[in-house]
Symmetry: C2
Subunit: 385 residues, 2 copies
C-alpha cells in the first residue's frame, strides 16, 4: 500500500443555512478543498452522508454531487455509517489512493438537516439505532446517551458538573473557530440550568441540528511532497470497527468498545501510543460521549474522563487537547460531514494554521468518529510528514 | 494492486418476503456466500443498499448487519449509488482486497421494498433522480424511461414489439432460475396488452418491487487458488462512471454515456473487447434500459438494440446472451442487491453451474449496474482464472 497524504481541506461556516441547499453547501466546501490543494483535476470522489433520503428526499448523492461539482464522469459514490459516514468516506478515499487505483481523491461529507421532510430530524437520526429493538420501543438518541451518562455517574462517580464542563470547554474552543455554528461561550451553570432533554442531559449537553459540509483531498505522499505548497500531512493509519448496534446487548454501556477496537488497530498500524498524540477531534455528540471517547481512546484511565475534563487536561493548553475545533457541540453536527470536518481541523492544527485555537507544537493528531451509540467507529491518525 | 478473485456467492429466493426482515434476508444470503467460499472468517464487509432509511426506517446497515451476521468488530460500511449500490459496494470490496489492506472481504447487497414506510416505493425510488429538477416536477422512473423509449423509437425505429421481446426473453431465462421472483414465461402480446404504466411502457416492461439480498466473497487471486474447491473466477477489471443526474441535461437521452464510459475503462483495464465477452448481466430496470445498455456496452451498434433482441442475438444460445439470470425484469430488482446478484450470476455461469440456463463455454462475463437513469454506472469484467 502506498503512503497517503491530505493536500487540501475545505470548510464552510456551519449553521442553519436556510438559503442554501445540500448540493450548494457540498460544492462550496469541495471547491474550497480543491482551491486549498491547488489541484486541477479529481480522479474519484466519495461522499459521506447519513440520511439525505430522510432529510431532503434525495439519495444518489455520488452522481448528483459529481454532476453539480462539474467532475462527472469520474467515479463518485456515497458512503454511509450513520454519524460516522464522514470518517468512513475518508477511509474509502484513503484505501483507493493507497491501492494505487487513483491519485487525487476528493472526500466530502454533507448533511442538510434543517429542511427535514418526513418524520423530522429526531426520527431521521433514530435510524442509526436498532429500529426493531430500540427505536420502535420509543428510544431516541438523547435517551440512549442519557442512560450511558447515568450508568457512568453511578459507576465512576462522574458528576453533573463534569458533564457540563465538556460543553463549556468545547464552546470556549468554538468561540475561536470562524466555521463553528455556535461562537458564544457558556458556563457550567448555564448548561445545568438549560432545558432538560433526557435526564441528566440538558439541551446544552447535546450537539445541535446543523446544515454543513466539509471536504478533503487525498493523494499519494510522494505526489504531495512534489505539488503541495503547504506542510504535508500524512495519514499514518486508518481503522474502523463495529459493535452490537443496540446498547442492551453490550457488556458495559459506559464503554465504547468499537472506539477501543478501532483505536487499538490505528495505534498499532501507526506505531504510536496514546501519549504520542498531541490533539484529538472526538465524537462529542453529547457531553457524555466525549468522556467515554477519551477513555476508550486511552487518553485517560477508564472512569476518569469526567475528572480529567474538570481538571483542564483536555483544554487547549492542557495535557491532551480534545476538540480544539469546538467539537460537535459548538462547531455543529451535520452528521455526514462531521468525520470529514474532524480531518480538516486536525490538518489545520498540524499545519499550524489554527490561529487563536492553535495547539502548540502539534505533530500528531487523531480523529474519532462514531455512528449511533458507537456501533461503528472510524479512527484516523495523522502526522506532519 | 493485487489480483482479486470471487471465491463465494450467496443468493436466496427473491420475491415479496413478508415473513422476513431486511436483516434476516441479508444474513441468509451472506451465510450462503460464506458456506460457498468455505472461509472461516471475514476481514471486512461492504453493504450495498439504496434506501433502507426510506424503505424500512433503518440506516447504519454496516454496523447492524455485521452485528446480526456475528462478525462484529470487523469494519462494515454501507455504499450507496441508488440502483447501482450493489455494484458500487462490490467495487469497494475489490479495491480493499486489491490494496492489500484485507484478504477476505464480504460484499452483500440488500433491499426490503415491500414493507415500505413513508411515501411509498415510488417516492423512495424517485430519490435516485434529481429531486429539485425532476421529481418535484412530478416525474417518476417509469416516466423517465418512457421518455427514453419514445426517443429511441422515434430516432432508431425501435418497435413496441422489440421492447416487449426484452421482457419475453428475460422471463424465459428467469423461468430457469430458482432464485427468480417470477418464473413464468410471458408472450409479446401479454406484455403489450398488460396495464399501461407510462406510455409506451406497460407493467410487463417494468422490473418489479422486490425483497432480496445477495452476497459475494472476494480474496486475493493467489489465496483463491490455494483454498477454493471451485473454479476460480478472477475480477479482471472494475470501473465506475457518472453522468448528469437529470436527463434534460444530456445531449442524447437514448444514450447511456456513463455506461459507455465505465465500459470503455473496464475493457481497457481488462484488455478485452466487447466481442470477447461470452455473457453479460445488464441493468434492465425497464425493457428500454436493456436495449440502451447493450448499445452503450458495444455489444450491438447504436440503434440496433431492439432489432438484435428481436433476432434472438441476446438469448441464451445467441451471439451475446444478456441476462441469463432473468435480469431485473424476471429475477426481481431489490435495488441495492441487484449489482451483487449480477456478480453471483456471472460467477455461476463461469463456474458452469447454471443448469438449464447455462451459457455454453462461458469464459468471460460482464456486469453492468446503473443508478437512476444511468447517472452512475459500475461495470465489472470477470473471467475463469
Amino acid at each position: 500500500m502506498r503512503d497517503v497524504a491530505v493536500i487540501g481541506i475545505g470548510m464552510i461556516k456551519w449553521g442553519e443555512l436556510w438559503e442554501k441547499s445540500l448540493r450548494t453547501i457540498f460544492v462550496e466546501a469541495a471547491l474550497n478543498a480543491i482551491d486549498d490543494a491547488g489541484v486541477d483535476h479529481i480522479d474519484s470522489m466519495y461522499v459521506g452522508c447519513m440520511s439525505s433520503g430522510l432529510f431532503v428526499g434525495q439519495e444518489h448523492l455520488g452522481a448528483l454531487l459529481a454532476d453539480y461539482l462539474g467532475i462527472a464522469p469520474v467515479s463518485a459514490v456515497r458512503v454511509e455509517s450513520a454519524c460516522a459516514s464522514g470518517g468512513a468516506a475518508f477511509r474509502q478515499g484513503f484505501i483507493e489512493v493507497a491501492s494505487g487505483m487513483s491519485d487525487i481523491v476528493l472526500v466530502g461529507g454533507v448533511e442538510k438537516m434543517t429542511d427535514v421532510s418526513g418524520g423530522g430530524a429526531t426520527f431521521a437520526l433514530s435510524t442509526a439505532a436498532d429500529q426493531e429493538y430500540e427505536v420502535y420501543n420509543g428510544v431516541t438518541f438523547p435517551g440512549l446517551y442519557a442512560m450511558m451518562a447515568r450508568a457512568h455517574m453511578e459507576r465512576y462517580g462522574t458528576t453533573r458538573k463534569q458533564l457540563a464542563q465538556v460543553a463549556v470547554k468545547n464552546h470556549e474552543n468554538g468561540s475561536k473557530n470562524p466555521h463553528a455554528q455556535f461562537q458564544m461561550k457558556i458556563t457550567v451553570d448555564q448548561v445545568i440550568n438549560s432545558v432538560m432533554i433526557a435526564d441528566p442531559l440538558t439541551i446544552l449537553d447535546c450537539s445541535p441540528i446543523t446544515d454543513g459540509a466539509a471536504a478533503a483531498i487525498l493523494c499519494p505522499l510522494e505526489v504531495a511532497r512534489k505539488i503541495s505548497k503547504k506542510p504535508v500531512v500524512k495519514v499514518k493509519s486508518s481503522s474502523a470497527a463495529t459493535d452490537s448496534i443496540a446498547i442492551h446487548q453490550r457488556k458495559d454501556i459506559t464503554h465504547l468498545q468499537a472506539a477501543e477496537d478501532a483505536a487499538a488497530k490505528a495505534y498499532k498500524l501507526a506505531g504510536v501510543e496514546p501519549s504520542d498524540v498531541d490533539l484529538a477531534e472526538v465524537h462529542d455528540c453529547f457531553t457524555i460521549a466525549e468522556i467515554c471517547a477519551i477513555e476508550a481512546l486511552g487518553f485517560v484511565e477508564k472512569g476518569k474522563g469526567g475528572s480529567a475534563t474538570e481538571a483542564g487536561e483536555t483544554a487547549i493548553g492542557g495535557r491532551i487537547p480534545i476538540n480544539p475545533s469546538g467539537g460537535l457541540k459548538a462547531k455543529g453536527h451535520p452528521v455526514g460531514a462531521t468525520g470529514v470536518a474532524q480531518i480538516c481541523e486536525v490538518v489545520t492544527q498540524l499545519r499550524g494554521d489554527a490561529g487563536e485555537r492553535q495547539v502548540e507544537n502539534a505533530r500528531i493528531g487523531l480523529t474519532q468518529n462514531m455512528g449511533g451509540t458507537c456501533a461503528s467507529c472510524v479512527v484516523h491518525i495523522l502526522e506532519v510528514a
